[in-house]
Symmetry: D2
Subunit: 257 residues, 4 copies
Amino acid sequence: MNDILKIADKEFHSRLFTGTGKFSSSAVMKQALLASESELITVALKRVDVKDENDDILVHLNHPRINLLPNTSGVRNYKEAIFAAQLSREALETNWIKLEIHPDPKYLLPDPIETLKAAEELVKLGFVVMPYIHADPVLCKRLEEVGAQCVMPLGAPIGSNKGLKTQEFLEIIIDQSTVPVIVDAGIGAPSHAAYAMELGADAVLVNTAIAVSKNPVAMANAFKLAIEAGRMAYNAKLAPIKHHAEASSPLTSFLNA
Amino acid sequence: MNDILKIADKEFHSRLFTGTGKFSSSAVMKQALLASESELITVALKRVDVKDENDDILVHLNHPRINLLPNTSGVRNYKEAIFAAQLSREALETNWIKLEIHPDPKYLLPDPIETLKAAEELVKLGFVVMPYIHADPVLCKRLEEVGAQCVMPLGAPIGSNKGLKTQEFLEIIIDQSTVPVIVDAGIGAPSHAAYAMELGADAVLVNTAIAVSKNPVAMANAFKLAIEAGRMAYNAKLAPIKHHAEASSPLTSFLNA
Amino acid sequence: MNDILKIADKEFHSRLFTGTGKFSSSAVMKQALLASESELITVALKRVDVKDENDDILVHLNHPRINLLPNTSGVRNYKEAIFAAQLSREALETNWIKLEIHPDPKYLLPDPIETLKAAEELVKLGFVVMPYIHADPVLCKRLEEVGAQCVMPLGAPIGSNKGLKTQEFLEIIIDQSTVPVIVDAGIGAPSHAAYAMELGADAVLVNTAIAVSKNPVAMANAFKLAIEAGRMAYNAKLAPIKHHAEASSPLTSFLNA
Amino acid sequence: MNDILKIADKEFHSRLFTGTGKFSSSAVMKQALLASESELITVALKRVDVKDENDDILVHLNHPRINLLPNTSGVRNYKEAIFAAQLSREALETNWIKLEIHPDPKYLLPDPIETLKAAEELVKLGFVVMPYIHADPVLCKRLEEVGAQCVMPLGAPIGSNKGLKTQEFLEIIIDQSTVPVIVDAGIGAPSHAAYAMELGADAVLVNTAIAVSKNPVAMANAFKLAIEAGRMAYNAKLAPIKHHAEASSPLTSFLNA
């Protein structure tokens, strides 16, 4: 099937994006990420030693299929975000940036104002900007207008594993968006990921649910399959929801026939 | 992985059971059923001409991987169900029977009283009884006590595609059951099937959602993958749901570090 | 408003039925029950000393507005239920009986088979039978057919306070029933009770949610108001759910006008 | 009960705010608004003829209990909003303003960027600003920081009647807010309004659900009661949700006692 996702100038065969946080070891991380077949993997800039080419995380992510997506996690406003992105471009030699600005430490929800400002500026500076945001359809349109190459609305608070609590608004975002929609945060189970794809999301980002599973490699594989399943179902069109029952078999009575 | 499902004396590698209703043609049905890799396929006894070994449906289901599961759809009480089961055993040479007794034509919901009576009798007559029932945990225990080899609680009304509307009670049934629990009816999307497996169901039965899709073969494949994903996730254990956010990356501030 | 609920030969102005369990004292119970304005109050037969006319609970329930509804909680099968009902009729001088048969101590879910048998027998013996059951539409029809004067499907497991987890099936029951439908068990908040009434339930039974509140008298009042609100909304017809937004104000632009 | 809601310098006894759109006539509107006992009623500035003291809507809203809350519905950016607010202050002699900036005509969702800018400016200009916004907790904090006297997050798209689709985020907003939280938009049934109050919202705004009911006066009354019920329950504390059943009556078996 020729069902390629394109963001900026890159093509992706996998619609599962992953992250590098919370794994018990770099070795487990690497195995899980390979099992996921993910081609875009986010790494917190603050966690890598950009001056050290033998940095443990970077070494483990060195693989022909993997594209690095540095993220700005930890910054508190647009200025810090821009500074972090520039540092990242220089050190990691990529102009892709996952823009995360969430000042509050309890719920880690993104700041719409700072994110839009930073996105606008970063686009002008030549970045491919992937902004992590609340599932706010108007904000998504504005980000699109300033040149963000995709939008990454959240399903639920990061790490909560609650699934698509924003479903009502994700549907509107998907309906309106002219750039890819990637559901980020909150996806805690393969069924959530499949559901996002069935709704028409272009990709999902999953980190915690894989990293903290008892078996991260198996869980990565499970997400991979679920996302393929959800995408396949989206393309094949789901059956409509009915309010009355409908027999699978014709309703003529059995013994009177 | 050696994750076999056993019902009575049969072992199943696939946890997707399917049906034969509502397909646009027997050829499409066959392709979709093969794509599903299902090993147990239900067919309404009233739809086959049991005296004709060239019956169109039966011919299309003739495949080494496929076990036939005749169902009693159309019967209105336990007597008709027993009669139908006996007829089926003779004609199709299987003692497996999917017991469906749903007198009401609007919602097609199963009758708990007639189903229990029929199950008890059929077990005594040597049948492997797979009863389709409401997601009633007490009824499930009683069916288990009279010897039903599995229970098949519904997720939502047949053909409604609404998903696991009975989730609260499916969880209790799964918690209590000593026989396999197969979620039957209502599953309308691969995400629903994955969710059933994540809850710990042993298998699911899907028919309408595959048959009425615009692309039944792709949809069958999507269900296959989703069920594998859900089962894998169940075995690997899902991450717990959290009420506060949890960063994937450590929470030290970025630029102060 | 002349919106009377009739069960058997009795008329009720209040659609809130209550219970007597779990209150911190009989005095608090009495105050809360009066605040609820409930006219039908269930009491576990096993908790009253039927030989003692000064039994504490009975004394506290002695009020012109209150009708007692003895329940069979604690019985395990239809024979015990019939025996209990007869004992109750003799001692408490009422032929009304709330039929509860739930053998399993963990989830306290009702047994459909024993309940139907007991209901049929009790109706013949002249009882007004109010059966507590799973939200099983077929069972409800069968109870109606044997002469039960109402049906009492559960919203969620007793004492769970989870609300209308069986909503999908309650709607079918309400659609089909020719006897009053009283939602019993699981209602944990006034909003749940209002919702049940909005769906068209004839009454609700609430016990735990009132009894274990920090302020049972205020909570009883809250349920009373919510049920009136829900009933009023049902009669006034709710606005339909829309999939696009609709402005409350006309959509002509403001400053161009 | 001394449970007063204070916004800026005004005290409210009713926690139901209403609107004036979509009623079939001004007479019906007036009756319904009086039945609601609402003390704060929003009116689209674009719908009133501010130069005509005999304007039909304004005449019907002239009542000692009613405070007018002009809204900026129809404006597309912060400049238009400020202009509209100033016009409104002059004509209607109130410095209260409901700030609504929703450029998109299909879903009418509010613009976070323009709303924050307008709120900041309007506060400086001496307005009591009540901003209608997405249920975005970070945006709510920022509005609070610039001096908005309350926040008005949406439950679902305006006029959709879908209820509290943003519940997950409303809970966070309520947890964090130091100004009153008023749930605006999407509330389609009294049970939704009760639920908002049970979660701890300070008030709700309801318009469509009352105006388009078959009986707006009865529906207004139903909302009034439901909101009182929900608030009362919030103050009395709801019983916790349990995962196992809990009998209302002690679990000693009946006949063995």
